[in-house]
Amino acid sequence: MFYREAGDFKTSYVDDSQTFPIRVDRYGYYALLAVAFGVLPFLVNDYWVNAVLLPFLIYAIAAIGLNILVGYCGQVSLGTGGFMAVGAYACYKLMTGFPEINIFFHVILSGGITAAVCVLFGLPSLRIKGFYLAVATLAAQFFLVWLFNRVGWFYNYSASGQINAPERTVFGIAVTGAQNPPWAAYLFCLVFTVGCALIARNLTRGMAGRKWMAIRDMDIAAEIIGVNPLKAKLTAFAVSGFFVGIAGALFFSVYLGAIEVGEAFGINKSFLVLFMVIIGGLGSIFGSFAGAAFLVLLPVFLKNVLVGGLGWPTDLAAHLEFMIVGALILIFLIAEPHGLAQLWRVTKEKLRLWPFPH
């Protein structure tokens, strides 16, 4: 009744191929952007930004990056944590080496550096597939973490091996360091998240994305119809690395401010981002957001309800949190193996016909 496309006429191909072809969707999207950019910055406090919004936005970027590789191109990767570490350390070296350049460009450059590293580790994908590739990227994960722990140059020879983000400003307002106003950190990450999502969306429905999907669906067939697997796979690794690198750079510089590579970018991080992609929905940009929201917001929400609301002991709540999140993951994957994105799609289909399904 409310959600339908009747009367929404398209008169050109451009209209037909837009991201949100249904008017209600489009307006909803504009409204969401308006709230995110125009309203939320005035409402947020330290807690909201540092515990909820920043991790959500940053993990969403990482999930988009991994989704391009796993969901669109079908190359399984367990190296996300390592690649995020490349982004973080690239950003650190750039921030401390070239303090006069704006942090905005440092983050983008970190993405570029990560893309290069990611391509390097993507080379084996031309020969090995599936589980074997997963193991090769697992090697990247452990090698990169070991490298950043081992070579002093990466952490400027600090005694503890930690890297700390110095204060950097955009338009005179600090976005990194401890003195940054929460809204500035939020807006800085939001710009990157929206930008990455737009780029990813347009790449995946263009020629590059179609090539990736052809490789994913059947690489031999794709090769026969003229898709160059070398170019397709390596571009997927490069684009994925670019996003993951940006996520790593923001994770370090804006969100945490100080990083210990083994703890922040260990194998757990790779799995976390992979789970976001799988739960959100492989091959869906919306799914990346949904998965990130699910795995970032749900634990915080549960903690606040169980400890803050019900006053239960913290250890009991922490254990319950594991059980509830784990059970929900199982339930979601059994009920809808294609993830939250598919659930959302089905809901929309049903809503279109509601309340007259016949």
């Binding site: 540092n50 401890a178 083994g262 260990g266 699910f294 803050g308």
Partner: protein
């Protein structure tokens, strides 16, 4: 997604609901994950001491303590979430003691910006001892570099003052925490002429076969360990397995709890650890805890940790915090102090033997006086040894001072670097 956000908003509102007009102290504990065996006793001791003060004296100076617990699982991301969630609880958090070097590094700039003191007792950033650079951070009564020096001094005593040519291996948790002592041990090696090998163990440390194979091959005279959580238990077990002489295996004060050595059985007897406070439960304070806290059914956790090493450390941390609050109340003449006033209290804290005895903890820790320049005490520590038959750690030395010559110069160097990096002008 929007739905989830909405629900989360309601939840966050609920979380920040009831505001109590008390002295609010967050307890960022970890009772889950691979570090829980160490996190639980510390947190139990920390909470029980404040419960005792509330039950027996009605708080400190008439103000009750409102303890807000938050689970970090020793994870920096959760630590940040906890900090942001608790910093404005009640009338504002007074003090943080995260019991995690990783989280401490996160919180140093944040707490400094927010004006909340941070007490990293025997952990965290060692150079925070230089109070003129680190205004809001305290690490009395001793720090990691002191601990490294304590271990070496003990080895020196064992060898009649000459350890040149000896081989010493540092087995460390591969993190900021584990790397802290390396520089000090290198400097001490230059001074005393021993040969240092460093062997890292990655988080969480359940797999150490290759490290102990290396130790077995190198045949070091002594092994010093900087471990935490599950890593300690595995290391002690491995040392027993390769029949390493346990009296030559020395842990720092975070590698010396009962849970670390019990698993290895009788073979662990002789294992040594550095400590900066006394052990056991033969103190008058324990009778009061039994009476007001345990018997009243108000003990934190399962109430089964009383008298363990880390429970005592939790008590000690809480006692120092309570004494700092008392000092702050005296200086400012108000009982409902705020975080800035507590900082003044911490900076003027003086722990004397008479005071500790009056609190029911005679001889519990070294005497020290905090000043603007010195936020880290005088670096006294002692060595304790495990006796599996008696199931206890026993002090085998008196408290002795670390090599101040080396430790002080390293602290001056590191804090000067931090000041230059962050544009801080030393205060005093």
């Amino acid at each position: 997604m929007k739905q989830t956000l909405k629900i989360a908003a309601i939840a966050a509102l609920m979380a920040t609901g009831p505001a109590l007009a008390d002295l609010t102290i967050p307890d960022t504990s970890y009772r889950t994950g691979p570090y829980a065996p160490n996190g639980i006793p510390f947190s139990d001791g920390y909470q029980d001491y404040f419960t005792l003060l509330n039950e027996r004296d009605g708080g400190i100076g008439g103000e009750r303590i409102n303890l807000v617990e938050c689970e970090t699982a020793y994870n920096t991301e959760k630590g940040v979430e906890c900090y942001e969630a608790t910093k404005s609880a009640g009338n504002g958090a007074l003090l943080y003691q995260p019991l995690s070097t990783g989280i401490a590094y996160q919180l140093i700039p944040k707490a400094t910006a927010d004006g909340i003191p941070l007490h990293t007792m025997g952990y965290g950033r060692t150079s925070a001892k230089n109070g003129s650079v680190f205004e809001w951070v305290f690490n009395y009564p001793a720090n990691y570099w002191d601990a490294a020096s304590h271990a070496i001094t003990h080895i020196l005593e064992q060898n009649g003052g000459d350890i040149s040519g000896k081989k010493i291996t540092l087995l460390y948790h591969n993190s900021a925490y584990g790397k802290e002592p390396i520089r000090t041990l290198e400097e001490l090696g230059r001074k005393h002429g021993y040969e240092l090998t460093t062997v890292p163990v990655d988080h969480p440390g359940q797999e150490q076969k290759s490290q102990w194979l290396q130790i077995r091959r190198d045949r070091p005279d002594y092994v010093i360990m900087w471990g935490w959580g599950a890593m300690n238990q595995v290391a002690v077990q491995e040392a027993v397995n390769i029949r390493f002489p346990m009296e030559n295996f020395i842990g720092n004060w975070y590698s010396g709890a009962e849970s670390d050595v019990r698993g290895a059985g009788a073979g662990a007897t002789g294992y040594k650890t550095v400590t900066f406070h006394s052990l056991g439960r033969d103190y008058p304070l324990y009778d009061e805890i039994q009476r007001y806290v345990v018997d009243a059914g108000k003990a934190a956790g399962a109430g089964d940790q009383l008298g363990t090493v880390l429970y005592n450390r939790g008590l000690y941390a809480a006692m120092l915090a309570a004494e700092a609050i008392r000092t702050a109340q005296e200086i400012h003449g108000v009982s409902a102090i705020n975080a800035a006033q507590l900082r003044d209290g911490m900076e003027n804290l003086e722990m004397t033997e008479a005071r500790m005895a009056a609190l029911g903890l005679p001889n519990f820790g070294p005497e020290f006086k905090v000043t603007c320049e010195n936020h880290g005490g005088n670096g006294y520590g002692a060595i304790a040894q495990w006796d599996a038959a008696a199931d206890e750690f026993r002090l085998i030395t008196d408290y002795f001072q670390s090599d101040q010559e080396i430790v002080s110069s390293l602290i001056a160097e590191d804090s000067a670097a931090y000041a230059a990096e962050n544009g801080i002008t030393p205060r005093c």
